[in-house]
């Protein structure tokens, strides 16, 4: 395996454990009742689900971007890349919207254990999305400046894609553990 892909996979392995532990904290405190807002009372799985679809579909678009690059189709590559970034931004906007509505309900990171664990978990996920978007923007910028990835940085896009898929998968897990469990 190419060295940069290996490097990113190792990073992903490490970060996976980090998120796992934040999720474990969320789950283990879920049944501690100290009053105040709870997941049941304050979260909206449907709206968050819709915003999540934007993030999930961005995995498709980045995959298309990678394929276009391999086929040497520069314009398509940049287009799919841009789509990925926009979809990611919509997801983050959705997160911001959700957070604001939670603040309005009086649920903040220090209100109670739900607030503490929820905002820490989703906050760190959001940070990782932001980091990914930044990297994607840099790649897009380099592409528009005429950098030939195939020769200069053959594994860059693929490595970044791996990271982006990871961020997506983490959200699948968070969405499942935090939101889907509210529906059953």
């Amino acid at each position: 395996m190419e060295k940069n892909k290996l490097g990113v996979l190792l990073l992903i392995g490490s970060e996976a454990i980090f998120f796992l532990l934040l999720i474990v904290a969320y789950v283990s405190f879920r049944n501690v009742d100290t009053g105040g807002p709870t997941a049941v009372s304050s979260l909206d799985p449907l709206v968050t689900g819709i915003f999540s679809l934007f993030l999930f579909s961005s995995s498709f678009t980045i995959w298309r971007a990678g394929k276009s690059l391999l086929q040497g189709r520069r314009a398509a590559f940049q287009g799919w890349l841009l789509a990925t970034i926009l979809l990611g931004l919509v997801f983050l906007a959705g997160q911001a919207y959700e957070w604001r509505s939670l603040f309005a309900q009086g649920a903040t990171i220090n209100t109670n254990l739900f607030g503490t664990t929820f905002f820490t978990l989703t906050g760190f996920h959001g940070l990782h999305v932001l980091a990914g978007l930044t990297a994607l923007a840099i790649i897009l910028g380099m592409g528009r400046a005429g950098v030939d990835f195939q020769t200069a940085h053959p594994a860059a896009v693929e490595s970044l894609s791996l990271y982006w898929h990871f961020v997506d998968v983490v959200w699948v897990v968070i969405f499942g553990v935090v939101y889907v469990t509210l529906l059953v």
Binding site: K3, L6, G7, L10, L11, G13, S14, E15, I17, F18, L20, L21, L22, A25, S28, F29, V32, D33, T34, I109, N110, N112, L113, G115, T116, T117, T120, F124
Partner: protein, 565 residues
């Protein structure tokens, strides 16, 4: 003056910088050898600071009810001593050796990610400075912890148990500096781990399969994986603590539903693998040094390598042996006791491998070898007391006493630090082109051996007679004062030994005997180039058909690959 290797010219030279020599070339360097040396110098500096902290501790404890240090100050000092030695000395010093020697040992030109390598180093420096800034920056009168603005370094111990480390009980910023400093250092260390793993897996010279890499490289590889999975629990815990402290959250505050025990789970899920992180590369060094000075190959390469992989995996399964007194129930304790005993097996058998390597050899007692042999004995003592801790009822009496302080100093100082000194005497010639003085070295060794045992052996007894750890003073109970005084005297002997070592380094750098390429007649690839190596490492890498390429070159009629594999 030793020759400092040149920094490679970058593709697009930055305007206005003189990048070929001088201080700037070091600061801007992405060469693994320069970075490695910087690691060693920085961690040596932290070692001296941590050592001074230890001397302060020992002065305060030399007599019962001493008043050399205020309780507040003492508690900051022991916290910083532990934090410094673990995060700013042992782990990064081993990383520094790996950074310097792994690429050489595998015949590579540099690490996989040279710039990331530099970032790792500078994060260590930054994180360390941030941590130490707390002495001056964190000072506020501390309400729950103590009374008085005696500096604001963290004072909740190096493992910072909650809720003591939470705002209500640690109102100075010390714990924040602690968490932030460790996050910075930790990120650098994680980057270093990824760098080393990718380097070892991808940059080996053709012919050097994983079954032929030096054992030091094996240990660094396993270590990289342990770091990869042990740092996340620490980072999660640190982040959660900061969120609690800075944003008034509730992770570890029992009064509002949080869990003090969760901190312990998360911390020790890092903290136990951490101690293996601190010993594996040391075992690697010993596994290089003993064969060379016994003039025989390592006995049982496969078992030594394989047992390290086993330890890497098991290290995550034993962590709650730090929590036997928390009250989590007998089945829980029994499970972790079993795992802790299990891990003793791959740990212990290496002792036999090393002895069997010496057996039948022709042993040269260079200073390096003296440290390596002492390592075997001292690590065994620490290992035995470690097994006593796996036995839960013994732990129920001896944990949190000076017996455990003795235990971990035997494995970390008698173990790792002695191994590091063995490595220093072994590899200093390669890094500088000069040999360290053997005469000074013998003095260093014997002073250190005597000083170490004087300091720490008596602490086993102090624990047995009931002295808890982390106490700024103690009552005048029979024998306690005398034993503590002996320990303090030992600490000063140790300090003197360190001075002798520094003296040796300075004298040898100034006018040490030139080393040549391979002063020890060793067999691994780092010895197949000049001392110090040129910036590109090798003119030409020798062919690699076995674990000892240079042995093969020197024995064309009888190479390893003909009679072994």
């Amino acid at each position: 003056m030793s020759r400092i290797p040149l920094v490679p010219e970058s593709d697009i030279p930055l305007p206005g910088l003189r990048s070929d020599h001088g201080l700037l070339s070091w600061i801007a360097s992405v060469d693994h050898k320069q970075i490695g040396i910087m690691y060693l110098l920085a961690t040596l500096a932290f070692f001296l600071i941590g050592g001074i902290e230890a001397l302060f501790i020992r002065i305060q404890l030399a007599r019962p009810e001493n008043s050399f240090l205020a309780p507040d100050t003492y508690n900051q000092i022991f916290t910083m001593h532990g934090t410094t030695m673990i995060f700013l000395v042992v782990v990064p010093m081993l990383l520094g050796f790996a950074t310097y020697f792994v690429p050489l040992m595998i015949g590579a030109r540099d690490m996989a990610y040279p710039r990331l390598n530099a970032l790792s180093f500078w994060l260590l420096v930054f994180g360390g400075l941030l941590l130490y800034f707390s002495f001056v920056g964190g000072g506020q009168p501390v309400a729950g912890g103590a009374g008085g603005a005696n500096g604001g370094a963290p004072m909740a111990g190096w493992f910072s148990y909650a809720p003591l480390s939470e705002r209500p009980f640690s109102s100075s910023s010390g714990s924040d500096y602690w968490a932030l400093g460790l996050l910075a250092v930790g990120i650098g260390t994680l980057a270093g781990a990824i760098n080393l793993i990718v380097t070892i897996l991808r940059l080996r010279v053709p012919g050097m399969s994983l079954r032929r890499v030096p054992l030091f490289v094996w240990m660094v590889l396993v270590n990289g994986f342990i770091l990869l999975f042990a740092l996340p629990p620490l980072n999660a815990a640190l982040v959660m603590l900061l969120v609690d402290r800075q944003l008034n959250a509730h992770f570890f505050t029992p009064l509002t539903g949080g869990s003090a025990i969760m901190w312990q789970h998360y911390f020790w899920a890092f903290g136990h693998p951490e101690v293996y992180i601190m010993i594996l590369p040391a075992w690697g060094m010993i596994s290089e040094i003993i064969p060379v000075f016994s003039r025989k190959p390592i006995f049982g390469y496969e078992f030594v390598a394989g047992s390290s992989v086993a330890i890497g995996v098991l290290s995550f399964a034993v962590y709650a042996h730090h929590m036997f007194t928390v009250g989590l129930g007998h089945p829980f304790n029994a499970a972790f006791s079993a795992a802790s005993m299990l891990i003793a097996i791959p740990t212990g058998i290496k002792i036999f491998n090393w002895i069997a390597t010496m057996w039948g050899g022709k042993i040269r007692f260079t200073t390096s070898m003296l440290f390596a042999v002492a390592f075997i004995i001292l690590f065994t003592i620490g290992g035995i007391s470690g097994v006593t801790f796996a036995m839960v009822p013994i732990d129920w009496q001896m944990t949190d006493t000076y017996y455990v302080v003795a235990h971990f100093h035997y494995v970390l100082f008698g173990g790792t630090v002695f191994a590091i000194f063995a490595g220093v005497y072994y590899w200093f010639p390669k890094m500088t082109g000069k040999l360290l003085s053997e005469k000074w070295g013998k003095w260093h060794f014997w002073l250190m051996f005597i000083g170490f045992n004087l300091t720490f052996f008596v602490q086993h007894i102090l624990g047995i007679v009931g002295m808890p750890r982390r106490v700024y003073t103690y009552p005048d109970l029979p024998g306690w004062g005398t034993m503590n005084l002996i320990s303090t005297i030992g600490a000063f002997v140790l300090a003197f030994a360190v001075l002798v070592f520094i003296g040796n380094v300075l004298v040898s750098l100034w006018r040490g005997q030139p080393a040549g390429d391979n002063p020890w007649d060793a067999w691994t690839l780092e010895w197949a180039t000049t001392s110090p190596p040129p910036v590109y490492n090798f003119e030409q890498v020798p062919p690699v058909r076995s674990r000892r390429p240079l042995y093969d070159l020197a024995h064309p009629d009888n190479p390893d690959w003909k009679r072994n594999r």
